[in-house]
Amino acid sequence: MNDRNAANDDLASPWVGWGLFLPAAAFLAVFTYYPALATLYHSFFSNEKAGRPARFVGLDNYAAMIDDPIFWQALKNNGWFALGTIPASIALAIVMALLVNRALPGRALVRMSYFAPTILAMVAVANIWLFIFAPQIGLMNQIVGALGGMPHNWLGQPDTALASVTAVAIWKEAGFFMIFYLAALQNMPANLAEAAAIEGASRWYYFWKVTFPLLMPTTLFVLVNAVVNAFRMVDHIIIMTKGGPDNATMLLLYYVYETGFKYWDTTYAAAMSMVLLVILAVVAVGQFVILDRRTHYR
């Protein structure tokens, strides 16, 4: 690292430095740091009601949260949603990257097909999948019917609704993660593969012993993205299920949205937002710790 040397060359002009940073800093302060702190602050207050100002209620909102079965359901669903989307989309991304990282007739078309869902808005994706899951005429039930199965109300039944919205998220994300793996594979030294071939290593063995470990930094990067996405992706819930049926697809951020902007219980929404912020903070800290531990790789 010659960062330190470079730093010594940096222009030591506090006014210009701050002056250049100030415009961006102002927006970051007003729309990121202030609201993060204000969320914490307001979570200790009651809601303003007609004529009655907000008053300090201590931990009441948090106590209400602990007693709220829907909050726990949302947390649990979010956990399942994360567990459902993260490993599946990462595994698929690796498979896709391996499949298109070689001579293949129509490779551009194949890659485009994998990547296209990334370009679409989640709103558009949700509309398309709403049609696919439609009870009578949806593609899903047509396929099931053709295979001799019974049609099913995928989004309308609590036992399949969460799995269905999870599938949508996987479809949307896998191609996005694929491009990072593709880049990593293309930067991989070719002589490794040649050496392995001479040694007679099987492809399976080669993948697990060589390729996969070398992809670790990419996997870490993708993993952090995937975790963050699992807790902020709610557009498809708004369109497809509104958290239903019977809260089966209620996710944390969607519950915050509903509480804050449908019931206007903003202080309770603030308390639940704190849970989200803590989860994201844990991911951030975890990322730093892991990055710290693996610095010897670089």
Binding site: G17, N127, I128, I179, D235
Partner: protein
């Protein structure tokens, strides 16, 4: 990964697998396109003889204020990109080339926004914009995204890699900091601006939750919100109409993607590898 002892059969198998997955992955979009270009009666019947039609798109264009939604989205992404470019360039330059008190702490604070995104601060940001009297404006949709940690970081990395000699040369000729930035750094960072621009435009073209919260009239609603209102509206569930509206709203970005596929993929990559 091309291992030399790949057998022919193995290669063929992988090609088939790649294509099967590609077909499976394209199926939802193809299905939507099928419905959008057919009468609603034919929307879920796969009869190749069924006549193709434009009328769903024509209907959609007239049935909801889509021209206004398109304009709003266009104004929104333009506004965001102009402000983001400006602020990130200035701040990135500050972090790349200036020493100022508190710089390292400030940089960590900036990076924090990569995790604590405006998406999870909706309640308080609504409060703020309400206090500013900006609810239901295009500016309000964009404002939480003006200061972009991602942009600042990207520009800092880019500017740091530019040889200092170029900077010095400009200064010897008497150029001040801002002029140096404009004459030396900005032109050299063009590919990065393209990458950042594509990522930012596709993000905000597609953004939904925050615009949904902060807008409540046709005059400020972007496409995503307009599409949702149209699709969940009272025209009944006519999938041909809904898929036509969906493809219409995604159209410009999809076409841009088809035309600039390579740039898109590289932009997302460049933006992601930090």
């Amino acid at each position: 990964m091309t291992v030399a002892h790949d057998s022919r059969a193995q290669r063929a198998l992988e090609t088939v697998a790649a294509w099967l997955l590609a077909v499976l992955w394209a199926l939802p979009l193809l299905y939507a396109a099928w419905a959008a270009f057919h009468d609603s009666g034919d929307s879920a019947r796969f009869d190749l003889a069924a006549p193709l039609t434009w009328k769903n798109f024509v209907y959609v264009w007239g049935a909801a204020p889509f021209p206004t939604y398109f304009l709003n989205t266009f104004l929104l992404v333009t506004l965001i990109i102009v402000v983001q470019f400006t602020l990130s360039t200035l701040a990135g330059y500050a972090f790349a080339r200036f020493r100022f008190p508190g710089r390292d702490l400030m940089f960590v604070l900036v990076l924090l926004q990569l995790m604590i995104m405006p998406d999870v601060l909706i309640v308080e940001n609504y409060r703020t914009l309400n206090a500013m009297g900006l609810i239901d404006t295009i500016v309000a949709i964009g404002m939480p995204y003006f200061g972009s940690a991602f942009g600042i970081f990207l520009m800092r990395q880019t500017f740091k890699a530019i040889p200092r000699e170029l900077d010095d040369a400009a200064r010897i000729e008497g150029a001040g900091s801002l002029l140096t930035l404009w004459k030396v750094y900005v032109p050299l960072a063009k590919p990065v601006y393209l990458a950042y621009g594509l990522v930012s435009v596709s993000y905000h073209w597609n953004n939904f939750l925050w615009p949904l919260i902060v807008t409540n009239s046709v005059s400020s609603r972007p496409l995503t919100v307009g599409l949702q209102i149209f699709s969940s509206g009272d025209q009944g569930i006519d999938w041909s109409i809904i898929t036509a509206a969906t493809l219409l709203s995604a159209g410009p970005l999809l076409v841009a993607f088809l035309l600039f596929q390579r740039q898109f993929v590289q932009s997302f990559l460049r933006a992601g590898i930090r």
